[in-house]
């Protein structure tokens, strides 16, 4: 039996929707139509339970499914229920158009009736993570991850190209904090990680999947081996590199030009009478990070305290601790806001001439040493490691994370995390927090076997001509070529469907979202629209189920109304929309198609926003080439913080 349940939401929606007419129109579509006043409450849920049996397929026309979705999902099978958010997507946004809103409700409910016919039961993906954890990079962050995991009873292997001792850790971390702090922390961490296995190797290859990675190693002694691990934490270190202007400032040519780290060493060893005049130059083309600024300030303060005359030529002082800037000034460091363009080595010293912008005055300093502020950059082997692991790098060579706002340690690959400075230069506190975060993610993965439910792509081997476009496009490395066939690694799949839109032969169909289902739905939507609204033009909004759908929900909540004749069709990800669905939409008569995706770089599946833009552009080109108006198709982002987006995109029609 196919059953429709409508909710009046405390009898408020019946002012905006003509429930009797909706019921009448849908009599032939559903075996039963029932109207309730509060489906989400205890009594409503009890009512549903009493009315629905396991064999029924159900359409619920109520509010945004997140509100009632949870209690409902415990009672109904995913594949036999389809929700239509009549409240947010219809009643609240067309509140002055009872007739239009009711017509739209009928069209959407008919669509849901078809949708529910095409739904498959979701695939259960089990992932058991091997308990072994590989930590790449044995700096302080690596040690911290190891310490946290060992404490929780998880074995770790720390991988380093060369063996470290306590001083090496302090040395490598000195840009992050003062020596005393570091020495104390290193001591604690080294003793907490005594039981970790440490091997001196570099990674030469990576295969397998999250939970079961196989890592090929080349060791110092020339031996080659592999180890198996469930998850990998990248905790590679950074190094201090000369800034772009180093050459102009005679770095490498004159003994008087040194790097900040050299100054730190000199000052440490400096005798009481051994005072110098030094000028520290900061490259203005380099965005100084807080930790780099902090390092600079700590070093110059020490230098000034030892009696040296220290001048800092900078364009911006950046630190997360104002008090260390205060301390630097009070220690007598002279700050000059200007850029040192060139220096001249003379017998009296290095002649540094620069414009002090705060007095519009060129000043000349003759100094014993010219010190270059260094750039904190990933260690040399990071790029190679990223290549092997299939991770991307930012313009400075740091490894990028999955989503920079609230996925601070997740890389684009499941089971591979990044802790500390491999992502960006961090203060010691932030680096330690980042390591703790990575340890948490690993621990959560290992703790239980995860069981995820979702629709996955099904590959038709006969249709597939192994062009590998899907393998290239899958943001989660869930498609691979195995024995000449495209194979789905379900443990990596995030159920987005981006693979579908890139397949040129449509050899990939997504469960519940087959081409046939789209064709049936789009045809019915158009037909029903024409039946209800005649020749009135209509628009399809292909919205991703995350940000775009939320934005449209919020349009309802905030009363940002838009004209009827706009049908929102949910896709798991906007990246799943292929030219086929767009062209079909136009073919059935839609005036416009809007593909609404997550904000640039903010796709929940990583690349869906980008993919949607590409697909739309491709389709526009196609339309142009056959003399059609490409402007009928558009890709745009929609987010909950911009609930007016829907209004803006469809307002030109009425």
């Amino acid at each position: 039996m196919k059953k429709l349940f409508l909710c009046t939401c405390n009898k408020t929606l019946d002012k905006k929707l003509d429930f009797l007419r909706i019921e009448k129109e849908l009599k032939g579509v559903f075996d039963s139509v029932q109207i309730h006043d509060a489906l989400c409450l205890k009594e409503g849920l009890a009512f549903l339970e009493s009315e629905v049996s396991n064999e029924d397929s159900v359409v619920i026309g109520a509010c945004t499914s997140q509100i009632i979705g949870m209690p409902m999902s415990e009672k109904l099978k995913t594949e036999s229920v389809s929700f239509v958010p009549l409240r947010e997507h219809v009643a609240w946004v067309h509140s002055n158009d009872l007739k239009g809103a009711s017509n739209k409700a009928v069209v959407l409910l008919c669509d849901a009736a078809i949708r529910v016919d095409h739904m498959d039961s979701p695939t259960v993906v089990e992932n058991h993570m091997e308990k072994e954890v590989l930590i790449v990079g044995g700096g302080m962050c690596g040690l911290k991850v190891a310490a946290d995991l060992l404490h929780l009873g998880i074995d770790v292997t720390i991988l380093e190209p060369c063996p470290w001792d306590d001083t090496a850790y302090v040395e490598a971390g000195q840009f992050m904090a003062d020596k005393n702090t570091l020495t104390k922390m290193v001591k604690e961490l080294v003793s907490a990680t005594a039981s970790a296995t440490t091997i001196c190797c570099t990674i030469t290859g990576l295969e397998g999947r999250a939970g079961k990675y196989g890592v090929s190693l080349a060791c110092l002694d020339g031996k080659v081996s592999t180890i198996d691990c469930g998850s990998i934490v990248i905790a590679t270190n950074v190094e201090q590199k000369p800034p772009p202007m180093a050459k102009k400032l005679l770095y490498g040519k004159s003994d008087r030009t040194i790097l900040l780290g050299n100054l730190a060493t000199l000052v440490e060893k400096q005798g009481p009478k051994d005072v110098r005049t030094v000028l520290v130059a900061v490259d203005p083309t380099h965005h100084l990070s807080a930790v780099e600024g902090g390092y600079l300030l700590r070093v110059v303060t020490e230098a000034a305290k030892k009696g040296n005359t220290v001048i800092v030529a900078h364009s911006n002082i950046r630190t997360d601790d104002e008090n260390i800037y205060r301390a630097a000034r009070e220690s007598g460091v002279i700050f000059v806001r200007g850029t040192l363009e060139k220096a001249k080595d003379t017998k009296d010293g290095m002649v540094c001439r620069l414009e002090n912008t705060l007095e519009s005055q060129i000043r000349e300093f003759v100094v014993d040493l010219l010190v270059l502020q260094t750039m904190t950059r990933p260690r040399g082997d990071t790029a190679e490691l990223a290549r092997i692991a299939g991770l991307s790098l930012d313009e400075d060579g740091f490894i990028t994370t999955r989503y920079s706002k609230n996925k601070p340690v997740q890389t684009s690959k499941r089971g591979i995390y990044i802790a500390g400075n491999g992502k960006m230069p961090m203060s010691i506190d932030d680096a330690i927090a980042s390591a703790g975060n990575a340890a948490l993610e690993v621990f959560k993965d290992i703790r239980t076997t995860t069981r995820r439910k979702g629709w996955i792509p099904i590959i038709d081997e006969e249709q597939c001509d192994v062009c590998e476009a899907c393998i290239e496009a899958c943001p989660n490395d869930a498609l691979r070529l195995v024995d000449g066939k495209v194979t789905h690694i379900s443990q990596h799949c995030e159920f987005c469907g981006i693979c579908v839109s890139v397949c040129p032969t449509r050899a990939i169909e997504f469960q519940s979202h087959s081409k046939e289902s789209w064709f049936a739905r789009l045809e019915a939507l158009a037909e029903n629209h024409k039946k209800m609204e005649g020749e009135k033009p209509f628009t399809f909004v292909y919205a991703c189920s995350e940000c775009a759908n939320a934005s449209i929900d919020l349009a309802g909540f905030t009363g940002k109304g838009y004209p009827t004749g706009t049908y929102v069709i949910q896709f798991p990800c906007a990246g799943m929309v292929s030219p086929i669905e767009i062209l079909k939409g136009l073919a059935v008569g839609a005036e416009r198609i809007v593909v609404a995706h997550c904000p640039p770089g903010g796709c929940h599946h990583q690349t869906g926003d980008h993919m949607a833009e590409l697909v739309v552009k491709f389709t526009q080109d196609m339309l142009r080439s056959i003399g059609q108006d490409p402007e009928r198709v558009k890709a745009t982002y929609m987010i909950a913080a911009l609930p007016n987006k829907m209004q803006e995109e469809v307002a030109h029609r009425g």
Binding site: C9, N10, K11, T12, A38, L41, K42, Q66, I67, M70, L152, H287, S289, A290, N316, R318, D320, D321, E322, N323, R337, T357, L358, E359, S360, Y403, S404, K405, N406, K407, P408, M424, D430, A433, S434, A435, G436, N437, A439, K444, R447, T450, K453, G454, C493, C547, D553, L554, F557, T558, C598, P599, P600, G601, G602, H604, I639, A640, A641, P643
Partner: protein
């Protein structure tokens, strides 16, 4: 036996640490003094470094496998079984007995029942009372029964009893008996094995800041208030208008308005440079002329693109800390030395925006005083095995750092409570 943790403050960090601990099987009591969760983020609309929604949460694992990130209102946070959320709740006392905490908390009544309300919002439509809306900048109003913001969680409205006339119209219209005008405050005692301070920061209201005339003109506003002006869900529908209702054509921003100042707030609030740039870019998109008066531009690496973009879009940068803002001919005029030309300038603009410091909320509470350190911020581990802090309660920081910190603290608390295996 499952362990119990009290998380104080349901801002982004509090929510994050709660999500993680509950995913790990720890029972969490989440205490929030406001009627909705989200903290400072409820005011911000869009945030750096990604430019998307402030109210985007790392959603719980069991519900959203694959893409554990959801809008606050879709996160289903409140339906987690081992999470108890107390809104409108204050902590009256904290006592430590035999290594366990006992907290006395008082929850103020919402007058609308969470398990009855269907969020039809009819009660709000029928309410006759109109009072100034705390989230509005240009005179917007709300009802006595209201939802503070559209994404506010719990979604259920609440009644502001200070302004309610008890006319009973809302009760009458509510067909599901969700309104109880006689609801009383509840005092409870909760026991916990550990406390986590996630009390966050607020933007200091610069009422007593000499020179910047904040209280003299409604066209001298803070960055938080500007965020409300730009927000399309705010009372101006995202239009940047002056107090007289005209569209603003020229905006001057003053950074460090009270930060890095021994007389006001000594520390650098860290986030203001970046959100000022974010706002400046948004204003430039509306073709509003923007001048930023700064001392240093302290932008996090992950947000450097805001600075590059601001230069590209023609935001004017002036290095100098203004002495004062005076209202002349009804317009705020900023008096500042451009230190790089050594010229004293008087900049007349339609709106002046002050980047006011972020100050710790925990320092406003007497019961938390013992846990706080310098400037009213707490250490991450206040008391080994007992009291922790994360998010901006430990110092001003951006969202990614806050989230990482909350995650790290979640693991730390879990490990300390459950012990090594």
């Amino acid at each position: 036996m499952t362990k119990t943790v009290v998380v104080i403050g349901a801002g982004l960090a509090g929510i994050q640490v709660t999500q993680q601990l509950t995913d790990l099987g720890v029972t969490v009591h989440l205490i929030e003094k406001e009627s909705i969760i989200g903290g400072l983020a409820t005011h911000l609309g869009r945030v750096f470094p990604t430019g998307d929604c402030a109210l985007c949460l790392d959603a719980c694992e069991e519900l959203f496998d694959g893409h554990h990130r959801r809008c606050q209102y879709r996160s289903l946070l409140t339906s987690k079984k081992n999470l108890k959320l107390y809104t409108q709740t204050e902590i009256r006392s904290i006592t430590e007995v035999d290594g366990k905490f006992s907290l006395s908390i008082k929850s103020h009544p919402r007058y609308v029942l969470l398990d009855r309300c269907v969020v039809c919002l009819e009660c709000i439509n029928v309410c006759d009372v109109e009072i100034p809306d705390e989230y509005a900048i240009r005179g917007g109003t709300r009802k006595a029964i209201y939802r503070p913001i559209s994404q506010g969680v719990p979604l259920v409205p609440l009644i502001d009893m200070d302004h309610c006339t008890q006319c009973g119209k809302c009760v009458e219209v509510c067909g599901v008996d969700a309104i109880d005008l006689a609801e009383k405050a509840k005092t409870r005692t909760i026991k916990a094995d550990a406390l986590i301070l996630a009390t966050g920061v607020e933007e200091k209201i610069p009422l007593n800041l000499p020179g910047y005339a904040y209280s003299e003109s409604d066209d001298i506003i803070t960055q938080r208030e500007l965020a409300r002006l730009i927000d399309p869900t705010g009372d101006t529908d995202g239009q940047v208008i002056t107090s007289s209702g005209d569209a603003a054509a020229k905006v001057t921003m003053i950074l460090c308005a009270g930060s890095r100042d021994l007389e006001a707030t000594e520390y650098c609030s860290q986030a203001c440079c970046t959100y000022s740039l974010k706002h400046a870019n948004m204003l430039r998109d509306k073709e509003i002329d923007v001048t930023i008066c700064y001392m240093d531009l302290r932008v996090q690496k992950a947000s450097n693109h805001y600075l590059d973009l601001a230069r590209e879009k023609g935001v004017k940068f002036l290095r100098g800390k203004p002495d004062r803002v005076v209202v002349r001919n009804g317009k705020p005029t900023t008096i500042v030395e451009d230190t790089q030309t050594q010229q004293r300038m008087e900049i007349e603009s339609d709106i002046v925006v002050l980047a006011s410091p972020l100050s710790p909320l925990a320092s406003q509470s007497e019961v938390l005083a013992d846990f706080l350190g310098e400037y009213g911020f707490a250490l991450r581990v206040v008391k080994e095995g007992r009291v922790y802090a994360c998010g901006t309660a430990t110092g001003p920081e951006d969202i990614p750092t806050s989230i990482a910190e909350a995650n790290a603290i979640a693991l730390r608390v879990y490990a300390d409570l459950e012990g090594g295996r």
